[in-house]
């Protein structure tokens, strides 16, 4: 289980982040000011800290100064779009910087990147007969090796990490192909169909009209 500390003074935003994290089975704990936040960060064993900048008692930069020695990766959340602030945050040792307002999946994607970088994610994901080894880039179906292209591999990993969540084509495009990729959503459709066919997920990886795709969570899990 991944534990994430949320230091954010606005209760509604903190609740929203907790709800978003719970979608991918991450555990979120909220602190509403810089002081208790930094104490909690030093005390608890967290995999990641989401840190707001404008906080009562102590601002985010001060909290960052205080907690950077404990080695927990930090992502700044802020309404400020100032490049100078961004640079300051990153220079202080933050892993990333998310500007408010953000979509839930964007937040999760950024969190995933940071967690993967610090090797906090599971290395092997099992889903029914399908087993994916993230470190060795291998996919097996009923114990047999399945050949996937790198993009198809990324697609199945993304769905496995976001089960029961409707993922839009745009989200897949920007996460897997990168923001600069100007391909059509047809590319996404083709890859999803390939993954479905190769891994026998016809009934599980379903199309949601007007939205995108969703990988159904396995029953009993």
């Amino acid at each position: 289980m991944i534990n994430i500390l949320i230091i954010e003074d606005d209760e509604n935003i903190a609740r929203m982040i907790t709800a978003a994290l719970s979608m991918v089975d991450y555990n979120g704990k909220c602190c509403y000011d810089g002081k208790t936040g930094s104490e909690e960060a030093l005390k608890g064993n967290y995999d990641l800290i989401l840190l707001d900048i404008m906080l009562p008692e102590m601002n985010g930069f001060e909290v960052m100064e205080k907690i950077k020695d404990c080695g927990t990766p930090v992502i700044f959340l802020t309404a400020m779009q100032d490049v100078a602030d961004k640079v300051k945050g990153l220079r202080l040792g933050a892993e990333d910087y998310i500007v408010k307002p953000f979509e839930a999946l964007e937040l999760l994607a950024r969190i995933d990147v940071v967690l993967r970088r610090s090797n906090k994610t599971q290395n092997i994901i099992n889903y029914g007969d399908v087993s994916v080894d993230l470190t060795r880039h291998e996919v097996t179906l009923k114990g047999e090796h399945v050949q996937l292209t790198p993009k198809e591999f990324d697609v199945i990993v993304y769905f496995l990490q976001h089960q029961d969540i409707a993922v839009s084509r745009e989200r897949l495009l920007s996460t897997i192909w990168g923001f600069e990729f100007e391909g059509e959503s047809r590319t996404v459709d083709i890859h999803v169909q390939q993954v479905r066919r190769k891994l026998g997920l016809k009934d599980r990886l379903i199309t949601i009209p007007k939205l995108g795709y969703r990988l159904e969570r396995q029953a009993g899990k």
Binding site: A19, Q81, P101, F102, D164, L211
Partner: protein, 483 residues
């Protein structure tokens, strides 16, 4: 051409001109004096010669015992006098009345010169006056004196010539000397002049550099006023100017900064509710199964935050509308406005179980009723937000010292002095989470401050944490119409 060059060149020209005029005048008067002396000398020589001649004639007459001497005898006498040893270094001549030469020494050439013949002609007339003429003859200057002499029944013309070249030579030399001295003096004077000009104008140079740095945007530099009075005054005035410029630019900077802060705060205040709205809406959209309670919670947050945005935009619009427009004031009853505001606040009061106690004198003030009610509403609303349940807010309105004073006292959470200082700043919230829960945007008191400004009204806050807050709304006596 630069100023120092102008001053230098014009003074130099003036000095040289003056010196030249003075030296020429001196030179002229001195040579005139010399000439006068030479003239007297020449006349004396002439007289001596004429007297010698007359004496010789008389002596000859006595000797020869003749009454009248003949022409030949006169010529002899003349010849004798002229060649007569001791005196005749001076060329002299004796002519008869027809201009014919009787006797002369060294005078043949002079006789032929046109200047002398002209002078001779005018001397022909009668009288004792001398005809004096000076002219250049060959390589020397001569002064001739001629006059007529009557003797032996005939008129003779006698002329002498003196050499006055010396005067002219001297004049020449003096001119040369003055020219040389003048040149040296001019060089010396120009050097001194140059130095003084540069020295005197150096403060201007300093001022110039200083002005340049001000023009370059460095308004903090100040020049030390020293040097001559004018320069001191100029530098003092320039300092004043720089100060004024600095003040104004500081003011503008402050305004720009305030605006920047306002916009940054506004963006922040908008983004905070937007983050919750976007996040929860996104979760509702993409999550497969959302339990009923979660759905209600998420949607509830979205509704709350949307309301917050609505109130923010409303307040913002009011603030913008108040920014530039002139308001229309009419006489309105203060107590009426207070009671209307209290009525409008009734739902909020009952929701928070807070009691509002009003006592108001009947005073009519000049005001825009809607705006003024909005001011009262905001202040009472703040008091309600700060008050605990089942507490009481006291509103009192009375005229004191000619001003109408409204006090709003609550027994709520209160504020520290630090917080009180900031409450009128846009987007400032003493207790952020509390205020947001109550739907505040942090603009209410900024709005009140604007409205108060427009009504000659001051707002003062007296507060201590844990004990409560009193707001004093003092309406200037000038706005009161009736009591």
């Amino acid at each position: 051409m630069k100023l120092w060059q102008k001053i230098f060149l014009s003074s130099l020209a003036l000095i040289i001109l003056t010196v030249n005029i003075i030296s020429i005048t001196l030179l002229n008067s001195s040579s005139r004096l010399l000439l006068e002396r030479e003239r007297n000398h020449a006349i004396k020589e002439y007289e001596y010669f004429a007297a010698s001649f007359s004496n010789a004639v008389v002596y000859e007459k006595l000797k020869s015992e003749k009454v009248i001497l003949g022409d030949d005898e006169i010529a002899d006498i003349a010849e004798r006098v002229l060649s007569g040893g001791d005196r005749m270094q001076t060329p002299a001549v004796i002519l008869d009345q027809d201009g014919l030469l009787i006797a002369g020494s060294d005078f043949e050439d002079i006789l032929r010169s046109p200047e002398f013949s002209k002078s001779l002609k005018s001397a022909d007339t009668e009288g004792d006056s001398y005809n004096i003429c000076s002219f250049r003859f060959k390589d020397q200057y001569l002064m001739t004196v001629c006059s007529s002499l009557k003797t032996e029944g005939k008129t003779y013309v006698i002329a002498t010539a003196s050499d006055i070249s010396e005067i002219y030579d001297m004049r020449q030399k003096q001119t040369e000397h003055i020219r040389r001295v003048g040149l040296a003096a001019a060089a010396f004077v120009s050097l001194i002049l140059l130095m003084t000009t540069i020295l005197l104008l150096r403060p201007l140079n300093r001022l110039n550099i200083y002005t340049k740095s001000i023009a370059g945007g460095d308004y903090k530099v100040r020049i030390k006023p020293h040097g001559s009075q004018e320069i001191r005054e100029l530098s003092e005035n320039m300092n004043k100017m720089a100060e004024a410029v600095q003040e104004r630019s500081d003011k503008l900077e402050k305004i720009a900064e305030d605006r920047q802060v306002f916009i940054a705060n506004l963006a922040h205040e908008m983004k905070t509710p937007l983050t919750s709205i976007l996040g929860f809406a996104d979760i509702l959209r993409i999550k497969k199964n959302v339990p009923d309670d979660e759905r209600r919670e998420y949607a509830g947050v979205i509704v709350d935050e949307t309301k917050r945005l609505r109130s923010l935009s409303g307040k913002l619009m009011e603030l913008v509308a108040l920014g530039g427009t002139e308001i229309e004031k009419k006489p309105v009853s203060l107590s009426d406005m207070i009671h209307e505001t209290a009525a409008a606040l009734a739902p909020l009061l009952s929701k928070n179980s807070v009691e509002l106690e009003c006592s108001a004198e009947n005073v009519v003030i000049m005001a825009d009723a809607e705006l003024f009610k909005s001011l009262l509403y905001n202040i009472i609303e703040n008091a309600v937000k700060a008050s605990p349940k089942d507490s009481r807010i006291v509103l009192n309105e009375a005229v004191s010292e000619g001003n109408a004073v409204i006090t709003v006292t609550d027994s709520g959470i209160g504020m520290t002095d630090e917080e009180v200082k900031k409450v009128f700043e846009p987007f400032y919230m003493a207790d952020k989470s509390r205020s947001r829960k109550a739907g505040g945007a942090g603009l209410g008191l900024a709005l009140c401050a604007r409205i108060a400004d427009l009504h000659n009204t001051t707002l003062e806050i007296d507060s201590s944490p844990g004990e409560g807050t009193t707001v004093y709304i003092t309406i200037d006596g000038g706005e009161i119409r009736e009591r």
